[in-house]
């Protein structure tokens, strides 16, 4: 068989846990091979073994049929293995070229770095694979999608034949995902092989040839993608049947809870990001905001929640004007907020889960009396929330930092939902989570809706918006450009609307 990489019966232990147990992954030359598993299943550990960051306790690695010991990442590079990390390892104020050559700089005879030569080589590589990267651009000036291509170029520049992509689409917009997929195909055409770490089934179905599934550290098996379907993959991954279509009754919307009129918000650079936006969310409905990242969604949420000052217009919550109130006043007026960036805003990572559970209520009864905190009440509350929302944590005293992404998100949702706010804003609530956690979070949002709460869902995942929302508001260039019924639309139509084209809708009606 023509395998470029074989990882046979790999076992890797850490104190107290077996992260990889008897996992086998064989990569054929010229294929895109998916490595599928839930968060914490051991995907990253396995790839770190391949990349030389960890040494396995058992099993062997073969490259092109020869048994090798990969002792460190340099050795992996020599063997032609390159990794495109999920979190980019780039120096912000260096140029593309400077970043790519970092650590293996070409030198002139006098010992100066030969930046011209490097630029030329990188330009050529970029052209070969259709990456459209400008070698002289500064990292801080280019988009996230471009930065990822710089990471890809970095591995190619070092002569990689096998590229490992670690959840590459987590940070990308739908358009960028599409382009990345094209890039991966052209890499294959040029004779490279790819391992794609992901838990997104759609991507596997679209680009991969074969898929190796691991669950809780164990190798479950390898399947041909053409002979399987998303449902089978999902159940292999989580070990039970998974419901993709979130089940819900029809919405029963009542009075408006959130009324936004003619809202204008400027972003950090004093450019108008929200330009006279109008939006209503009623009790008992989920309104999904669909839009490409950067069309004012972040500014809109920050303006509603009081994190940013808005410039004009009106935001009413249950009839009360809340525009430009402090975040605390807004929260006390009945708003819950699941923030887009859970590490930056949602949690104090160095606080325990218990302390995080009272982040907005610590100064109120029963959690404090005067200025004295009541630890018993705080941790009692935390225990009950942990149980109710199935937050997997060793205890309520564990630091939030120690939890997995899914459990951190569950903790935030527990806290926000428990306050029983009239309006719940959920921004990218399932970003980076696996199907099990996504299912849980969608169910919770719908439960809240059924209790008569108003939910505003902002997501860059069209699937999610289509699946969970009762009404979709399409946001483009700082405005809501269309309101559509999720049952009567599809991704194509939404995609066009999100790109600012009104033709689709008008054409339908005509």
């Amino acid at each position: 068989m023509d395998y470029v990489i074989e990882m046979l019966n790999i076992r890797k232990e850490f104190p107290g846990i077996v992260a990889n147990d008897n996992i086998t992954l064989q990569l054929k030359k010229g294929e895109i091979h998916a490595l599928l598993g839930e968060n914490g299943a051991g995907k990253s550990t396995l790839m770190n073994v391949l990349f030389g960051l960890y040494q396995p306790e058992k099993g062997e690695i073969r490259v092109k049929g020869e048994k090798v010991m990969i002792t460190d990442p340099n050795k992996a590079n020599e063997l032609g293995i390159g990794m495109v990390h999920q979190h980019f390892m780039l120096v912000e104020n260096f140029t593309v070229t400077q970043n790519i050559i970092l650590g293996s700089e070409p030198k002139t005879k006098t010992g100066k770095i030969d930046i011209k030569k490097a630029e030329k080589e990188i330009q050529q590589l970029s052209d070969n694979y259709g990456l459209k990267v400008d070698p002289t651009a500064k990292i801080s000036d280019i988009s996230v999608g471009m930065q990822q291509r710089v990471e890809i170029l970095k591995t190619l520049y070092r002569g990689a034949d096998v590229l490992i992509f670690d959840e590459p689409t987590a940070v990308l917009t739908p358009q960028e995902i599409h382009e990345l997929i094209e890039i991966m195909r052209s890499l294959i055409k040029e004779g490279k092989s790819i391992i794609l770490i992901t838990h997104k089934l759609k991507e596997i179905m679209e680009v991969c040839d074969r898929c190796t599934v691991i669950r809780k550290g164990r190798g479950i098996g390898t399947v041909n993608v053409s002979e399987t379907n998303p449902n089978e993959l999902a159940s292999l991954m989580v070990g039970r049947e998974v419901n993709f279509k979130t089940e819900k009754e029809n919405a029963n919307p009542k009075e408006p809870v959130l009324e936004i009129r003619n809202l204008v918000v400027k972003d950090a650079r004093k450019v108008e990001a929200v330009k006279g936006l109008e939006l209503d969310v009623r009790a008992g409905e989920i309104v999904g905001i669909a839009g490409v990242d950067g069309n004012g969604q972040t500014e809109l949420i920050e303006a509603i929640t009081g994190l940013t000052k808005s410039d004009s217009g009106s935001i009413k919550l249950r009839g009360k004007e809340i525009r430009n109130l402090s975040p605390r006043k807004v929260t006390e007026s009945g708003l819950g907020h699941i923030p887009q960036d859970r590490h930056k805003y949602g949690l104090v990572l160095d606080y325990s889960i218990g302390e995080n559970m009272v982040l907005q209520t610590y100064y109120k009864k029963p959690f404090s009396k005067g200025i004295v905190l009541k630890h018993n009440e705080i941790f009692d509350k935390a225990r009950s929330l942990i149980q109710e929302f199935d937050v997997r944590t060793p205890s309520e005293y564990t630091k939030a930092r120690a939890l997995s992404g899914g459990n951190q998100q569950k903790a935030i949702i527990a806290r926000e939902v428990d306050r029983s706010p009239d309006l719940l804003i959920a921004a990218q609530p399932t970003r980076g989570l696996d199907v099990g956690a996504i299912e849980f979070i969608h169910k919770k949002l719908i439960e809240e809706r059924d209790k008569g709460k108003a939910i505003l869902l902002v997501s860059f995942e069209l699937d999610e918006v289509l699946d969970v929302s009762d009404r979709i508001a399409v946001m483009f260039d700082g405005k809501i450009v269309a309101n559509v019924d999720p049952k009567e639309t599809n991704e194509q139509e939404l995609g066009l609307l999100m790109a600012g084209s009104n033709a689709a809708k008008v054409g339908d009606k005509a």
């Binding site: 994190l307 104090v348 905190l373």
Partner: protein, 349 residues
């Protein structure tokens, strides 16, 4: 896991003190002095008799308070290099009230202590408000505030409190922390009631940080300003409050000298170093109020005991300074090593 961590937390500084003593011993040996004699002198200098014990406690007292001043600010993510200046203004304020006010002790003494804390707090408030409102880095401003304190206080001593003299009159007895009884049981050392103030201050810091909504906010702001803002906390207010309270602790340290040890204030040609040593005390005490007490005691004992080493063991004072620096170095670097280890462990997961 937690009990294991606690054992670790105690074991690490103890081992590193021992390592520091060992390194100091090697230095003494290599220069031809007997480490046993040297350390015996150090011990006797710190705990040899009632007098030295009294003096050790006296030295420890302001270290506790400056250590708290650094640790408290650090808990909310601020690096208070200005404890030195806060000590100086606190010292001046305490002596000033001690000289100018005529009142019974139960009013006069608390008033002088409060004046010192307020003066230190004000000295902390200025960098605090500049940081909170304009984003000016507190390290720069607190360093500058140290110089301002030194020279302004010297000018006030010369031109306001005295007529071009270098030392003020002695404060009135009703504002003094000194105690004849304490002096009599310690063979006329300068130990005073200030250590009670320092320990109460440590308990106060523990209470604020661990048990109150104020401390919850301060720590939260220290860990993550974005999440604190999201949670509805006033980040600016907390930065200012933290610097004010920290400055108050340092101001009290000045009062320990002004109302306790000396009863006067003199024109200073240089730093007291109480504030700067407080940085090391806070670091070794792991920014924990009770850790700070122990670290301050270590500092106090080393500094006091070292005075005996040249006379009793013939070791030059310069070498004594090196040995003390080595002990502190090992304690401090163990903290760094452990920090590095835990980080490494985290990333390994």
């Amino acid at each position: 896991m937690t009990s294991n961590n606690k054992l670790f937390a105690i074991l690490v500084p103890v081992i590193s003190v021992l390592l520091g003593l060992l390194a100091g011993g090697i230095i003494m040996l290599s220069f031809g002095y007997s480490p046993i004699e040297g350390y015996a002198a150090l011990w006797n200098g710190a705990f040899g008799d009632a007098y030295t014990i009294g003096e050790t406690i006296r030295r420890t007292t302001p270290y506790i308070l400056t250590g708290l001043a650094i640790a408290f600010a650090f808990r909310s993510g601020l690096f208070n290099i200005g404890a030195e200046g806060q000590v100086i203004v606190g010292w001046l304020a305490a002596v000033w009230v001690g000289l100018a006010v005529d009142a019974p002790m139960y009013i006069h003494l608390p008033l002088a202590l409060i004046a010192a804390a307020v003066a230190g707090g004000l000295w902390g408030f200025i960098p605090g408000i500049l940081k909170a409102k304009l984003g000016v880095h507190e390290v720069i401003v607190t360093i500058m505030m140290n110089y301002i304190a030194l020279h302004v206080v010297n000018a006030i001593i010369r031109d306001v409190l005295t007529d071009h003299s270098t030392t003020t009159e002695h404060i009135s007895g009703s504002a003094s922390l000194a105690s004849e009884w304490l002096a009599s049981i310690t063979y006329f050392s300068r130990v005073h009631y200030g250590f009670i103030v320092a320990i109460l201050a440590a308990i106060l810091m523990w209470f604020i940080i661990q048990r109150t909504t104020v401390g919850y906010e301060l720590k939260s702001v220290g860990f993550n300003q974005h999440a604190s803002k999201y949670a509805g906390m006033n980040v600016s207010k907390n930065i200012m409050l933290s610097m004010i309270i920290a400055g108050g602790f340092a101001g009290l340290a000045g009062a320990m000298e002004g109302l306790g040890t000396y009863g006067t204030i003199s024109v200073m040609s240089g730093w007291t170093n109480l504030g700067f040593d407080g940085i090391a005390v806070a670091l070794i005490g792991a920014n924990n109020p009770f850790g700070v007490i122990l670290a301050a005691f270590l500092f106090g004992a080393l500094k006091e005991g070292a005075r005996e080493m040249p006379t009793a063991a013939g070791i030059p004072t310069e070498l004594v300074d090196i040995i003390i620096a080595l002990i502190i170095f090992f304690v401090a670097s163990s903290y760094i090593i452990r920090w590095a280890l835990t980080r490494f462990k985290k990333e390994g997961k």
